[in-house]
């Protein structure tokens, strides 16, 4: 019964992935600088496999409520069903509280991905704004702003996070996103600043000023589009990074709080008996590894596809 349901679910997710892929292909043929980059991305075989996989994972996360065979937090039968290895009814086994691991994994995808996406969205927004302002203004403002970044970057992120959580204790998901996001933008702002420093000396910017454009307009229309590719690549690689961080924090018990499932949490629940309950760490571990790998592969593919030297063929 659950197997059938699961097969239907996989088919559904695959169909969604295929539909998105078709729209995607049409966008790539659209022309323009972004269309050119897209079609270049589409010719990258590894990148496309990774992208399909991510679309699949995202679909699973989005439709988790309908895909998961059981409620992820319900203890099905604490006597008969606790710590069961994979079976037809429970393909990924059950945990010590008799909860269905597959269901927890599916719902965990939702939490892990959402936390990572939102945190990275926050950090690239802050990082881009900060870096763009520093780079564009230049001079003393830039020097001060960059020394602040240097100071921030000299403290390992994981230590900062552990310190914060040690002080704060249990945090809500919103706070977790905020903390992960606000500790992750320093290197992005550096990248953006370097790019802006270069872009602002381009003749294009002088030409725009000669036509009477305001600084705001120049930043928005002439400089930020040039930074986009850098930011997109940094964001993609950043998501993988944050997934690992979140999993690590949740494993340590300071990230996503029980009973909410995240990939790190599930591994933590099985950590008392890793060898005996291998399914508790293998499946969420695979999910983490594959997803992070996919994000990294996509990041590299984007880096190639968005290379500004190739984006505007002369």
């Amino acid at each position: 019964m659950t197997v059938v349901l699961w097969l239907v679910a996989i088919a559904l997710a695959a169909a969604v992935a295929a539909a998105v892929g078709r729209v995607w292909a049409r966008l790539g043929a659209g022309g323009g600088p972004w269309g050119t980059a897209l079609s270049r991305l589409q010719r990258n075989a590894g990148g496309m496999v990774a992208l399909r996989f991510l679309i699949f994972v995202a679909s699973v996360a989005i439709f988790a409520r309908w895909l998961a065979p059981f409620d992820p937090n319900v203890q099905l039968d604490i006597i008969a069903l606790a710590s069961r290895p994979p079976s037809l009814a429970h393909p990924f086994g059950t945990d010590i509280y008799s909860r269905d691991v597959l269901s927890r994994l599916v719902h965990g995808a939702r939490i892990s991905l959402a936390v990572a996406l939102l945190a990275v969205l926050l950090s690239i927004t802050v990082g881009t704004a900060y870096g763009a302002i520093a780079g564009y203004l230049g001079g003393r403002v830039d020097a001060v702003m960059m020394r602040v970044i240097d100071a921030m970057l000299s403290i390992p992120r994981i230590l900062v996070l552990l310190a914060i959580f040690a002080l704060w204790g249990r945090v809500s998901l919103g706070a977790l996103v905020l903390i992960l996001g606000l500790t992750g933008w320093f290197s992005t702002s550096r990248l953006v600043r370097a790019q802006v420093l270069q872009l602002k000396t381009e003749e294009m910017v002088v030409a725009a000023r000669a036509l009477g454009a305001r600084h705001r307009r120049i930043l928005w229309r002439h400089i930020l589009p040039g930074v986009t590719s850098t930011v997109v690549v940094a964001a993609t690689l950043g998501i993988g990074n944050v997934i690992i961080l979140e999993a690590g924090l949740s494993f340590l018990g300071v990230g996503v709080q029980a009973p909410t499932a995240s990939w790190g949490n599930i591994i933590a629940d099985g950590s008392s008996n890793v060898a005996g309950m291998w399914w508790m760490s293998l499946f969420p571990g695979l999910a983490i590894v594959l997803t992070v790998m996919a994000f990294n592969i996509i990041g590299d593919a984007l880096r190639d596809a968005l290379d500004p030297r190739e984006i505007q063929p002369a």
Binding site: G32, P33, W34, G138, G139, E202, E203, M204, V206, A207, A208, R209, A210, L211, G212, A213, R214, R217, R221, H222, P225, G226, I311, Q312, P313, A314
Partner: protein
């Protein structure tokens, strides 16, 4: 020809313009006391080698000098009766792209690769005339048509990289003229183009000058372009104007040795010479202009006086000025044929 002090009021008066860059290597006096006037509907050419201050002069007029560059106090750029160097930045922005426009040497790098050319032309109308999106777009197509681009409505939807070099320069011209400026500064507008396209662009500029009744400051190192386009010429060297005259006067009776050298270095059709004349050496670094006459170390006539003293501008003919002591001591000039025969050798 226009003579300062008579006739109509000049559109632009530049007086004692000094633009200095305070760098770690010292103060670079890129533009060092330049004065000239541009009359309505007039084309003046500014000519000189790379690094002699032509572009910095034009950027200073537009007030587009960025730190560490500063326009020194005492400089005056009077445009339509106002000293633009004293205007607040907001008012200056109203002038840029509206009353004074500028086109650059390399239209590829001056255009934004991520927007269509139509969007970029329309942007000017949106900034200055607060035109609606639709009006601005129509205006863009109209401007493209004016610059002689075939199928302008279709071209407006293309990106810069889809156009040829000449086409891109037409787009730049279209952008510059959207607001019907009274002064167009063209900084090496044809240097990046091949000769046939160059001729087309120059002709287009002349047509549009007529149509829009504007003045043009044409910056180039190509005296051929000057001869074709300008009524008056300023020759710049090492941040200064070294000679100023009408085009016909300058070509017929060059006074300054630097101008002589530039003219001798022009390839002439049918001349029985195997080697082009060159001016030995290069423009010195702007942080270390030579004392005395700044050209003396490259000058074939130099004697001890220009090594010590800095020459003023002498009036050497009708509306013809030259910054050379030869105006006082003409006997020191060897025959020009020497220069040609020697191939400009030092």
């Amino acid at each position: 020809m226009t003579t300062p002090g008579t006739g109509p009021r000049p559109l632009l008066t530049v007086r004692d313009l000094r633009t200095y860059f305070r760098t770690d290597a010292g103060v670079a006096r890129a533009v060092d006391g330049v004065s000239f006037e541009v009359m309505p509907r007039e084309t003046i050419g500014i000519v000189g080698e790379s690094g002699c201050g032509k572009s910095v002069t034009s950027l200073s007029i537009m007030r587009l000098i960025r730190p560490p560059g500063t326009i020194e106090p005492g400089s005056v750029v009077e445009f339509e009766g106002r000293n633009v160097l004293e205007l607040p930045e907001g008012e200056m922005r109203q002038i840029r792209g509206n009353r004074i426009a500028m086109i650059f040497q390399e239209p590829m790098t001056s255009l934004n690769p991520v927007f269509t050319v139509g969007e970029q032309i329309a942007e000017v109308a949106r900034v200055h005339a607060h035109a609606t999106r639709r009006d601005a777009r129509d205006r863009a197509v109209e401007m493209l048509q004016l610059t002689g681009i075939p199928a302008p409505a279709q071209r407006a939807r293309e990106y810069p990289h889809q156009l040829s070099g000449g086409m891109r320069q037409r787009v730049m011209i279209a952008m510059a003229l959207v607001m019907n400026p009274t002064l167009l500064i063209a900084d090496e507008p044809t240097t990046a183009l091949d000769v046939t396209i160059q001729a087309q662009i120059l002709e287009l500029l002349q047509q549009l000058q007529e149509r829009f009744a504007m003045s043009i400051i044409l910056i180039t190192h190509d005296l051929g372009v000057i001869a074709e386009m300008a009524q008056r010429v300023l020759v710049m060297y090492a941040g200064e104007i070294v000679e100023q005259a009408s085009v016909s006067e300058l070509f017929a009776r060059p006074h300054h040795p630097y101008t002589e050298g530039l003219l001798a270095a022009m390839p002439t059709l049918g001349a029985a010479r195997s080697r082009l004349a060159v001016i030995p050496g290069t423009v010195p670094a702007p942080t270390r202009w030579p004392a005395g006459c700044r050209f003396h170390d490259r000058c074939r006539y130099a004697w001890d006086r220009p090594e010590r003293e800095h020459p003023p501008l002498y009036e050497v003919g009708a509306a013809h000025w030259s910054r050379c002591f030869l105006a006082e001591e003409p006997a020191r000039r060897h025959p020009l044929t020497d220069l040609k025969a020697a191939g400009g050798g030092a």
